[in-house]
C-alpha cells in the first residue's frame, strides 16, 4: 500500500454478512456430508472431518481475510477500491470519469443495513467498479460527494 492515503475499512457488519452467506453454503455442505456419512457404514468421520475443516475455512477464516484485504479511499477526488485475498486488485476511478452511480441493497444487505456502491465509467475494462459492504448512509453520502464533484466540474 502506498502510505500517502490511508484506506478506510469497510463496515464491520460486512464481515458478519459474509459469514452468514458462507454459513448458508456450509449448511448445505454439512447436510450432504451427513448423508454421505450415514451411507458409509460405521461412524468413521472420513467425510465429516474434511468438510468441517473446509467449513471452518469458509466461515471463520476467509471472511476475516477478505474483510482485512478490502478497503477504499475517496482522497483527492478519486475513488480507490482495494480488494482480493489471492488475486489482489487496486482500482482508481477519478470522479471526473464517473458516468453514473448506483447504490444497491440486496435482501441480506438490507437486513444488515449495508449497501453496495457501484460507479460506472465509459471504459470497456472496469466499466463498473463496485464497492460492497458500506453502511447504507455512508454509501448515500459517498454518492452525494461524487455527484457534487461531477456537477462542479461540468459547470
Amino acid at each position: 500500500m502506498d502510505a500517502t492515503h490511508e484506506l478506510t475499512q469497510l463496515d464491520p457488519r460486512y464481515k458478519t454478512m459474509m459469514r452468514v452467506v458462507a454459513a448458508i453454503f456450509a449448511a448445505v455442505l454439512l447436510i450432504a456430508a451427513t448423508i454421505a456419512e450415514i451411507a458409509i457404514p460405521g461412524w468413521t468421520g472420513v467425510v465429516w472431518v474434511p468438510v468441517a475443516i473446509v467449513i471452518a475455512y469458509l466461515v471463520i477464516y476467509l471472511p476475516m481475510r477478505r474483510y482485512a484485504t478490502r478497503g477504499y479511499s475517496l482522497a483527492e477526488e478519486r475513488l480507490r477500491v482495494v480488494r482480493g485475498v489471492l488475486f489482489h486488485s487496486d482500482t482508481v476511478v477519478p470522479f471526473g470519469r464517473v458516468q453514473h452511480i448506483d447504490v444497491d441493497q440486496g435482501p441480506l444487505e438490507r437486513g444488515f443495513g449495508l449497501a453496495t456502491l457501484t460507479v460506472h465509467t465509459a471504459g470497456s475494462h472496469n466499466a463498473s467498479v463496485s464497492l460492497p459492504g458500506l453502511a447504507h448512509e455512508d454509501a448515500l453520502a459517498m454518492r452525494e460527494d461524487i455527484r457534487a464533484a461531477i456537477r462542479r466540474d461540468t459547470q
Binding site: G96, T121, S124, H125, N126, T154
Partner: protein, 506 residues
C-alpha cells in the same frame, strides 16, 4: 434534402422466419408427441402435418408482407417509420428529441450480421422507435448521423455527400488498386488453407479426383507428359509439390479476393465532422469517426509484412456497443502515411527520446517456468505411454512458449511521456498501442499470488472502446504510472473530453 424511404435489411425477414420456426416447431413438436403418444399414429399425423405446414406458410407470408410494408426515411429534420399491412401507422421522431441511438445484437440477428437500432427518446421502454433489423453498417451510420445532427454540425445527407463531393475534403490516405492487391498478397490466410484442405478431405468423394492420392497425381502427371513416366520418385515429389502449391494458390487467391472486396478504393478524408472512411467493392461502407471521440491508436504489423515496411493503423473511438469501436484508419501503409494520419487525430507516434522499458525479467521467467511445469511432464508422460510421435505436440508447444517469452522479453516495451502512454507487444503480429493520458477512464493494479510473491504487477487502464494493459511492471513503477496518469485524468472532466475543441476550459 429528401432521401427516399428504405426497407429494413432483407435478411431480417430470414431472422424472423427462423425465430418463428423455433417458436412454432417446438410447441407443435411437443404437442404432437403427447397426442401421438396415445393411439392412432398414422391418422393423426396425416391430419396434423398439412396443418402445421399451412400455419408455417401463412406466418412466413405475413412476415414477408410486414417486411415489405415497413419503411423508414431519414429526413432532413426527423426519422420517420411507416408500417402496417392492413392498418398503417407512421411515426416521426425529430432529431432534437432523440437522446441517443442504441444498437443491439441478439444472438440470431448477430449470426446474420444484423442489429436492432433503437432511437431513445426518453419516452421509456416500448414507446421508443426501433428498427429490426438493419445491417451493422447501416446501424452505425444512422447512429453517427443522429449524433452529428444533435451536435449541431450542419452536414449534407450522407447519400447526398456521396454524389456531390464538397471540395473541402482533404484526402489523408487512399489505396489504389495496386496497393489493395499488394495488401491482398499479405493477407494469405493459413486458416483458409486449413479449412479448404479439411473440406477437400471430407468431401473428396465428390471431387473428380483424389487430392491426397499421390499415385493418382503421378498418373495424371505422367499421362500427358510421357517424360515423367519413368521417373517414379521425382513424379511423386512433383505430386506433393503440386498439391501444396494448389493449396497455396487458393490461400493467396482467397486473401486477394477478400481484401479486394473489403478495401477496394479505400479513402480516408478529413471532413469538418471528423475522419471519413469509404471502402468496399460490392458493399461500400461509409463511416465517420469524429476526431474528438478518438480514444487511442493501435499500430499493427505482421510477421512478414514488417520486413517490407507495411503497417496498419486502427482508431479506437468512443462507442459503447460491440463491433463499432475499432476502426481501420490505414489498413496497409507506410510509416510516414500513418504518422500523417496520427497527427490529424492529435495523437503522436512515440518520439525518439521516449524512454522504453521492458517487463521485469522475473515476470517472463515465471511465465516460462509455469509453461514448463505443465508441458514438460505432459511431454514425458506422452513419450512413455503414448503412441508414435504424439509427444512432439506438447514438446513443440513448450519450445514455442519458451521462444515467445524470450522474444517478448526482448521486444515488449512500455513508455510514458507528458501526454501519452505507449505499449509495444506481441510476437507474430507486433502492435503498438498509444493512449492519451487524459482520455483514460480508470486505472487498476492487479496482482495474482505469484505476482505478489515476486513483486510485479499488471497495470490495467479503462479505455472507452478498448483495453490497455501492461504486464510485468515492478509494483513501484506501476504505482508511479498510475498516480501520474490519474493526475492527468483529474485535470479534465469527462464531459470536456467530448467537446469539440480545447479540453481544458473552465
Amino acid at each position: 434534402m429528401q432521401s427516399e424511404a428504405k426497407r429494413t435489411d432483407p435478411r431480417s425477414f430470414a431472422v424472423r422466419a427462423v425465430t418463428m420456426l423455433f417458436q412454432l416447431v417446438i410447441p407443435i413438436g411437443v404437442a404432437s408427441a403427447t397426442i401421438l403418444d396415445d393411439g392412432d399414429l398414422g391418422d393423426l399425423a396425416a391430419y396434423f402435418l398439412p396443418l402445421v405446414v399451412l400455419i408455417i406458410l401463412i406466418n412466413i407470408v405475413l412476415a414477408y408482407l410486414q417486411w415489405t410494408k415497413l419503411t423508414y426515411t431519414v429526413g432532413p429534420a426527423d426519422i420517420r417509420v411507416e408500417s402496417g399491412v392492413l392498418s398503417r401507422s407512421a411515426r416521426s421522431v425529430p432529431y432534437e428529441r432523440i437522446q441517443d441511438v442504441s444498437l443491439e445484437q441478439k444472438l440470431l440477428p448477430r449470426l446474420f450480421g444484423l442489429m436492432e437500432v433503437k432511437f431513445e427518446t426518453g419516452a421509456g421502454g416500448k414507446d421508443d422507435l426501433s428498427l429490426t433489423y438493419l445491417s451493422e453498417a447501416e446501424g452505425e451510420r444512422l447512429r453517427e448521423l443522429v449524433r452529428n445532427r444533435r451536435e449541431g454540425v450542419q452536414i449534407d445527407d450522407v447519400e447526398g455527400a456521396e454524389r456531390g463531393e464538397p471540395a473541402a475534403a482533404d484526402t489523408l490516405f487512399a489505396m489504389g488498386p495496386k496497393r489493395v492487391l499488394t495488401f491482398g498478397l499479405f493477407e494469405f490466410s493459413l486458416a483458409v488453407v486449413a479449412v479448404i484442405g479439411g473440406l477437400a478431405q471430407q468431401f473428396e468423394s465428390f471431387l473428380p479426383f483424389d487430392l491426397w492420392d499421390i499415385d493418382e497425381w503421378e498418373q495424371r502427371l505422367a499421362g500427358p507428359g510421357q517424360w515423367l513416366a519413368g521417373a517414379g520418385p521425382l513424379a511423386q515429389a512433383a505430386g506433393i509439390v503440386i498439391a501444396i502449391a494448389s493449396l497455396a494458390v487458393l490461400g493467396v487467391a482467397t486473401g486477394l479476393v477478400r481484401t479486394a472486396l473489403r478495401e477496394w478504393d479505400f479513402r480516408l478524408e478529413r471532413t469538418p465532422k471528423g475522419l471519413r472512411r469509404r471502402r468496399g467493392l460490392l458493399t461500400r461502407t461509409d463511416l465517420v469517426m469524429p476526431l474528438h471521440r478518438v480514444q487511442a491508436l493501435r499500430l499493427n504489423t505482421g510477421f512478414i509484412r514488417r520486413h517490407f515496411g507495411w503497417h496498419s493503423l486502427k482508431i479506437i473511438s468512443l462507442a459503447s456497443d460491440s463491433g463499432g469501436a475499432n476502426h481501420d484508419a490505414v489498413p496497409f501503409g507506410r510509416m510516414e502515411e500513418i504518422e500523417h494520419v496520427a497527427g490529424v487525430t492529435e495523437f503522436a507516434l512515440p518520439s525518439t527520446e521516449a524512454r522504453w522499458e521492458r517487463a521485469m525479467g522475473r515476470y517472463r521467467t515465471d511465465k516460462a517456468l509455469l509453461a514448463t511445469a505443465v508441458l514438460l511432464p505432459t511431454t514425458i508422460l506422452v513419450a512413455i505411454f503414448g503412441s508414435g510421435w504424439f509427444w512432439m505436440l506438447p514438446a513443440l508447444g513448450l519450445a514455442f512458449t519458451l521462444a515467445e517469452q524470450w522474444w517478448r522479453w526482448k521486444f515488449d516495451m512500455r513508455a510514458l511521456d507528458q501526454k501519452q502512454i505507449y505499449s509495444r507487444h506481441g510476437w507474430f503480429s507486433p502492435s503498438l498501442a498509444i493512449a492519451s493520458r487524459t482520455k483514460l477512464q480508470s486505472a487498476e493494479i492487479a496482482q495474482g499470488p505469484i505476482a505478489r510473491w515476486r513483486g510485479y504487477a499488471s497495470l490495467h487502464f479503462g479505455l472507452a472502446g478498448g483495453r490497455f494493459r501492461i504486464h510485468g511492471m515492478p509494483v513501484e513503477a506501476a504505482r508511479q504510472w498510475r498516480d501520474a496518469v490519474c493526475d492527468s485524468m483529474a485535470m479534465t472532466d469527462f464531459s470536456n473530453l467530448l467537446e469539440e475543441v480545447s479540453p481544458v476550459s473552465d
